[in-house]
């Protein structure tokens, strides 16, 4: 598999502020890649560099085999972008904006356009100035999704959508993945990333601190275990962290690599009840930000 996006040691400064500090990231062709991080971590800056809107200060960036700064126009024919804060032309109607954007890219699938307008429940006749944030986002999403491009760059695309529309969004992205498209989805809505993404990269202060499949990331961290035991372990549980004993119940965290050994010890104490929870993405995420 080739890489749709590869970034190595990317840096970007805004005056005194270092926005990206040696960022490395790879997005493989055909995957939905979650780009996680809190506000101000550098997600939007990274996306804008990928679009050639901002110029990198250092490092290597390849996008669909080209240089995002020098080959911007050619590359933009093959990708679509939904900004985090969608601003439109106030006097154009939603339908006009969608058509204009399609024509700019040189591709419009009018059947797909109508279908998406229907699914997202958009009234395309309203003037852009009267749309709410969520509706402006829908317009940018519809225009991007109707363009049938190889790569979708989405910057917090659901931040203004209601839960119903978020569900539609998830369906549509799942369809895009089946159609073999690559998606880079920047988000801080962890449930969304968990539901959609093959791999995730977590960014903090302009660097990627963790990257990989959710399974692998989970593996790196600890499983939380709650058990009801016949008798209490007198000398603690080797391999168990943050052990809490409440009557005949114990709660602890176990390194995923050593889970088997810990469970074997538990059996010795007579397990009556056991729940083991893999770490949620939220826990993974929090681990880097605490």
């Amino acid at each position: 598999m080739t890489d749709a996006i590869s970034i190595h040691a990317l840096t970007k400064n805004f005056g005194q502020v270092r926005a990206l500090d040696g960022l490395d990231m790879t997005v493989r062709e055909g995957e939905v890649h979650g780009f996680l991080g809190p506000n101000g971590a550098g997600k939007t800056t990274t996306l804008r560099i990928l679009l050639g809107l901002l110029r990198k200060d250092g490092g290597e960036v390849r996008l669909l085999g080209g240089d995002p700064w020098a080959d911007a126009v050619e590359l933009h024919q093959r990708l679509a972008y939904v900004p985090g804060d969608v601003t439109l032309w106030p006097s154009l109607s939603g339908g006009e904006v969608i058509d204009l954007l399609g024509r700019l890219r040189g591709r419009t699938d009018s059947k797909r356009r109508e279908e998406l307008i229907e699914r997202f429940g958009l009234d395309p006749r309203k003037k852009a100035r009267t749309y709410s944030k969520g509706n402006r986002q829908k317009i940018a999403l519809i225009a991007a999704l109707a363009s049938e491009v190889e790569l979708l760059l989405l910057d917090e695309p659901t931040s203004g959508l209601d839960p119903l529309m978020e569900a539609v969004f998830r369906e549509v992205i799942a369809e895009e993945r089946r159609a073999g498209r690559t998606v880079l989805l920047s988000s801080h809505i962890l449930a969304e990333v968990e539901a959609l993404c093959d791999r995730v990269s977590i960014i903090r202060d302009g660097r990627i601190v963790e990257t990989g499949t959710l399974g692998r990331l989970r593996h790196l961290t600890r499983t939380s275990v709650t058990a009801e035991l016949a008798r209490m372990p007198s000398d603690g549980l080797p391999g168990a962290h943050d052990l809490v004993v409440e009557g005949d119940r114990v709660r602890f965290q176990a390194d995923t690599d050593h889970l088997g050994e810990v469970l074997a010890r538990l059996v010795e104490y007579g397990v009556r009840d056991l729940t083991a929870q893999p770490p949620t993405l939220e826990e993974l995420f929090m681990r880097h930000y605490r």
């Binding site: 804008r48 972008y81 154009l92 006009e96 954007l101 024509r103 100035r129 009267t130």
Partner: protein, 518 residues
């Protein structure tokens, strides 16, 4: 409640613009009063000026009559009406910025959700703009008095300028309640002010028989305060009453509408884009078309007015000998011809430059840039889509004006020649705006407008003899000047066009290398 906090917020946000516009207008007045003595050194010259020059129809239309033959009266006649325009323009822009623009950008909601009374933002904006004009009145008074002019007239001039600003602010306060957007509100308010200005002009042009017309509009009351000529202070009472009535109306309207909405409900648009809305150029045309068509129509109207009504009058007037001193200053033998060219030049050069620069700098105000440029549209193409209009629409404006001029004597070629000769100069200004936008990420607009202000300053400075002929050549308009300073042949015009092209290329090169201000 909390209006004072909002006032402090406005002062903080405008800490550069507020002092800048007030000082610029004051500086404009100060230069005029400082140099008027040089232009009209003797009592005889002033008498001649008051009795002869100011009978010229175009001067009556644009500047109004002289209300005396003193130095102060001559200065106020020349620049008084212009100061009302400047103050009104600044006041309209600032009032709209702190009311409707805030609503458009969602800041008003943030403020409105805090413990702030419903009308507090309007009150705060009005308070600041009205007070700024009061400061302007004081500064103009001081500038005139320190140049040795009598206090009464100086104060009257100060109040005239402030009245222009107050009327502009009051019109804007109503307009922001009615229209859909900030841009439209500013355009409506300023157009109404300018229409009042022209009504006053027509009244002065028509002589005593049409004097009543001037009493119908605030601009008539303002000028008829008769600065430096037996002041009629009570006319300012009319201005205050007018402003109070409009402000009252603005509050009443504001209570009847929703935040972010105008009084007119928004209409639905088409569900599909027409074929014309295609590509960066189609989008740019859609963005600029209303403004472009309005300018072309306005130019045709003014051109026809001058052609049909003004030309003969100007020529008769020129032959009367009243213009001989102008002819000497500009170095020509035929005062009639030069005066007509002067009038056209002064009307066209700076207004059309304003249009061209405004059109180019729309690049900077365009909020949807990020979305647009994530499509296969290069930066160069994006800039050129707007620049094409900044180049072509002035052609249409000046051709419309030239054809209108020709209506008078059927000499369409002559009319076109007078107007279109300044085109290459306009293109240089548009190119400077492109360069400013391309080279500077934040300061682009300020640099572009400063360039226009400098050309105006050079022109005024040259007229009053402060700027030498050689130094004046820095301005692109010196090369297409009505005076004998310039004899614009094909070489000059091609040279200016090439300069414009080169400056544009610099701007495009700069833009290709810099970060976008998103």
């Amino acid at each position: 409640m909390n209006t004072s906090a909002l006032i402090r917020l406005i002062l903080r946000r405008d800490r550069v613009w507020q002092p800048l516009w007030i000082l610029s207008v004051t500086g404009f007045v100060a230069t005029t009063v400082a140099t008027i003595g040089r232009l009209l050194p003797t009592g005889e010259a002033r008498l001649h000026y008051a009795n002869e020059i100011t009978r010229n129809p175009v001067i009556l239309l644009l500047q109004g009559p002289a209300y005396g033959d003193s130095l102060g009266a001559a200065a106020a006649q020349q620049r008084g009406a212009a100061t009302t325009i400047f103050a009104a323009l600044a006041s309209v822009i600032l009032l709209v910025k702190h009311t409707r623009s805030d609503e458009e950008q969602g800041r008003r909601e943030l403020v409105g959700s805090a413990a702030v009374a419903r009308h507090a933002p309007l009150t705060a904006a009005l308070a600041v703009v009205l007070a700024a004009n009061a400061v302007l009145a004081v500064l103009i008074t001081l500038a005139c008095v320190s140049a040795g002019l009598p206090l009464d007239g100086s104060l009257a001039w100060g109040l005239m300028a402030a009245s222009g600003g107050w009327v502009g602010a009051a019109l804007a306060a109503v307009a922001v309640q009615v229209t859909h957007g900030a841009r439209a509100a500013a355009a409506v308010a300023f157009t109404v002010f300018f229409a009042f200005y022209l009504v006053r002009g027509v009244s002065d042009l028509g002589g005593p028989g049409l004097a009543w017309l001037g009493w119908l509009v605030p601009n008539g009351w303002i000028l008829r305060a008769r600065a430096f000529g037996d002041e009629q202070w009570w006319t300012f009472g009319l201005v205050v009453a007018f402003v109070a009535a409009l402000v009252g109306a603005a509050y009443a309207l504001s209570a009847r509408r929703d935040i972010g909405a105008g009084l007119v409900p928004p209409r639905l648009g088409p569900a599909h884009a027409r074929n014309g809305l295609r590509g960066a150029f189609g989008l740019a045309w859609r963005t600029h078309r209303v403004m472009a068509l309005a300018w072309i129509a306005g130019a045709a109207f003014v051109g026809a007015g001058l052609g049909l009504g003004g030309q003969t009058a100007i020529e008769t007037f020129g032959r009367s000998g009243a213009l001989d001193f102008w002819a000497r200053r500009t170095g020509t033998d035929d005062p009639t011809e030069i005066f007509f060219e002067l009038v056209v030049y002064e009307l066209a050069v700076y207004s059309v430059s304003l249009y061209a620069i405004m059109t180019v700098l729309r690049l900077r105000g365009e909020a949807a840039t990020e979305l647009l440029l994530s499509h296969p549209v290069s930066r160069t193409r994006w800039v050129i889509s707007h620049l094409v209009l900044a180049v072509a629409v002035p052609v249409a404006i000046l051709v419309a004006a030239g054809l209108g001029l020709g209506l008078g004597d059927g000499n369409f070629a002559g009319g076109l020649a007078i107007t279109t000769v300044i085109l290459p100069g306009i293109w240089v200004m548009a190119a400077i705006a492109v360069a400013a936008f391309g080279l500077f990420r934040r300061a682009g607009a300020a640099v572009g407008w400063t360039a226009l202000a400098l050309t105006v300053a050079l022109e005024v400075g040259w007229e009053v003899g402060l700027v030498s002929d050689v130094f004046f050549m820095v301005s692109p308009f010196a090369h297409v000047h009505y005076s004998t300073l310039a004899d614009p042949g094909p070489g000059t015009l091609i040279g200016l066009t090439l300069t414009a092209t080169a400056v544009t290329v610099v701007g495009l090169y700069g833009l290709r290398r810099r970060d976008l201000a998103l």
